[in-house]
């Protein structure tokens, strides 16, 4: 009975995925040309300016110095800015992967290693993004467990990276490009 239920669920999922993919492919506008400069990462460069606002010590200091309502307002504003920054990072990631997939699609040869690495980086970005969003949105009490989880994801990413390198030991070509700025 449970096996039958599992198969039925699987069939329903298959049909739903099929309909979803069909809809996505029919209405896809991603193949439209977007200028290259719009696909380059733009938001991550503001990170150094934002870094101090992430320090827990700052918050502790302000909590002790400011009246409660002002501290709450400061925290809400900080949260808004960080969320905006996260949305910017997400846009950077989307544009970069869009460019990478376009190049892969139009290349006469692609490397299995780079493609799986790209896929893995996107998956880990999604995971980290959700965690970071929670970290920014939730109270300090829950931050520690989120950070631990993030560390685990980070370690896992490093391990996958090492496996990929071991599987295909190819020298990486390094040339100057608009990315390195």
């Amino acid at each position: 009975m449970s096996e039958v239920l599992l198969y039925s669920l699987l069939a329903a999922t298959l049909l739903a995925l099929l309909a979803g993919l069909l809809r996505a492919l029919v209405t896809s506008k991603d193949t439209e040309d977007i200028p290259l400069e719009r696909l380059l990462p733009r938001h991550s460069q503001y990170f150094p300016a934002l870094r101090p606002s992430l320090q827990a010590a700052d918050a502790e200091f302000l909590r002790s110095q400011l009246p409660r309502d002002e501290f709450v307002r400061w925290r809400a504003e900080r949260r808004r800015i960080l969320r905006k920054f996260l949305a910017g990072l997400e846009e950077d990631c989307r544009h970069l992967t869009q460019m990478a997939r376009t190049v892969s699609r139009l290349s006469p040869q692609v490397s299995r290693r780079y493609e799986f690495q790209l896929l893995w980086l996107q998956i880990s970005f999604r995971l980290l993004y959700v965690l970071a969003w929670l970290r920014v949105s939730l109270d300090a009490a829950t931050v520690r467990s989120v950070s631990e989880l993030a560390d685990r994801v980070g370690r896992l990413a490093a391990q996958v990276e090492a496996v990929m390198v071991a599987l295909e030991p190819r020298a990486r070509l390094r040339v100057d490009s608009p990315f390195n700025g």
């Binding site: 699987l10 970069l96 997939r101 040869q109 790209l118 980290l128 560390d151």
Partner: protein, 259 residues
Amino acid sequence: MDLRPLDYGFWAAGTILELLCVIWIWRRGLHRQLPWFATYLGLVLTADLAAWWLWHQVGYTDPKTFYIHWVFEALLLVARALVIAELCRDTLAAYAGIWKLSRLLLLAAATALVSFALGTAWGAREAWPAFIYSAQHGLEMATAGILLLLLAVCRYYRVPVRPVTLWVAFGLGFYAGVQTALLAALQIWGNASIPTFSLIRSASYLMALGTWLTAAIRARAEQVSGPVLLPVGLYEQTAPQVNEQLQKLNARLLEILRG
């Protein structure tokens, strides 16, 4: 075994739609673009007409009917596999790089799914009907799985898919998905549910045929030129740098998380 008027209605509707599909495929010249799909539809039409003739002239219990039915089933199975391979080639072959990569992926998935289906069926080999159901179930799921993977690859790489190819894939996948659900449900409700499930199956097949017919009617005879590929070497320059940038983005997120 007598057929109900509704069964005759589905049979006749299916045969008429198959005939219309074959006619429109020829009229639009789609048999040149998707030759195995055209062959498959021709074979389905022949099988239906043969079944009709056998049923009424030779008899349902005659061994000849049994053997011809299973020969057609085997041929249709092979033809369907070839149609799926054709859809994959038609969609991705123009993109040499990702075609090489996804061909491997699709072949591996197909091997795994078909092996699983046959393995499960082999476990039920003591009882002939159970073996057939099991194999059919697994193969339908494999069909839906491979088509899903193909569409997912197209979506991931933003490969433009011709509407007719898309709708042919959807029709096949939809029918396979419904079959998977029905064969699973049949195990719960038993043989008493066969007439009802048979009607649902026929209705879903008519829907798939309707999808193919609409796609064939709407298809335009077009000579689609292949994409202009980038020079060799550009990928080798770009891919590591994009991945490096993504690593940096991940590092930023980790930094935010660690506070």
